[in-house]
């Protein structure tokens, strides 16, 4: 079966393959989570990746409910899903949108991990488990979070022939 995706990321203007509109009621978090993880599983993502996608979506939705809508339970949230394939392989794009207050995307970040206290971890976890997580203001009202998860982790770009690799340029380097 083919999901009919083109070589580009296929989101700009195209209809999402799935789009869930839900009320900002925490009762519906598990439904949204199960939807995205089942879809990812069916598209052939490994179980770990499916769990990570569910976790990221759950954290992001909790944040919209708590911070965006101040726990109002009857406001709309949209979750759109597009599978796509690019030069790095198969991937899933998930976009979460709300009509909540707009905040500076730079202000959406977790606490310093060294400073142990309850809370302040969600955004860090989202960024850690997804390959991409970008917050932005929507045109008129509300925020948009664009998440990307790849089937195979994106390879770190190899140093080009003309530039010598800097010592310890990456945390994994043993040079």
């Amino acid at each position: 079966m083919n999901v009919g995706t083109s070589g580009n990321n296929g989101t700009n203007g195209s209809t999402p393959h799935l789009r869930l509109q839900m009320l900002s009621n925490p009762l519906y978090l598990s439904g949204a989570r199960e939807l995205v993880s089942s879809v990812a599983k069916r598209l052939g993502f490994p179980d770990t990746a499916c769990g990570q996608i569910a976790l990221a979506v759950d954290e992001a939705l909790c944040n919209v409910m708590r911070h965006g809508y101040d726990r109002r339970e009857d406001a709309p949230i949209w979750i759109s899903v597009w599978p796509f394939t690019d030069e790095h392989g198969d991937a899933l794009r998930i976009v979460i949108e709300d009509e909540a207050k707009q905040v500076d995307p730079a202000a959406i970040k977790s606490r310093d991990l060294e400073q142990i206290r309850p809370g302040g971890l969600g955004v860090h976890i989202i960024k850690e488990v997804m390959d991409d997580a970008v917050y932005e203001k929507r045109d008129a009202v509300g925020m948009r979070l664009t998440l990307v998860k790849r089937k195979a982790p994106k390879p770190t770009p190899a140093p080009t022939a003309t530039s010598a690799p800097a010592p310890n340029a990456s945390g994994n380097s043993d040079v």
Partner: protein, 113 residues
């Protein structure tokens, strides 16, 4: 419509309180675990064990509840031990760099020993 609440099994034994939440531990369930932990702390036990063996899913509200409990534990000089984490739950503690902050044991038997 009625909400499904978190079920938490409680065992008290020789100055230790063991709490075993069952099922999903997310935004909806974390406040219930928080109540159970508060009641456990009120007894000023020498040890509180949270057995996560039957927790199939956990996210940051659950983690935050446990961090708060760790802070109370330090004030009260109670030992707080987490045990029974599956790989998915363990991964969240690792990403949050909390795996070295909590005392974590393999299972209930070692945690209660």
């Amino acid at each position: 419509m009625s909400d499904e609440t978190l079920q938490v099994d409680v065992v008290e034994q020789a100055g230790a309180v063991l709490l075993a939440p069952q099922g999903e531990l997310g935004y909806n369930e974390a406040p219930t675990l928080r109540q159970y932990l508060k009641q456990a702390h009120d007894k000023k036990p020498t040890r509180i064990v949270v057995d996560l063996a039957n927790v199939s899913y956990m996210n940051t509200p659950g983690v935050a509840t446990l961090v708060e409990s760790l802070q109370i534990s330090k004030r009260n000089r109670t030992r707080l031990i987490l045990c029974g984490m599956n790989d998915k739950v363990r991964a969240i503690f690792e990403i949050a760099r909390l795996n070295t902050v909590f005392e974590i044991m393999a299972d209930r038997d070692s945690a209660m020993a």
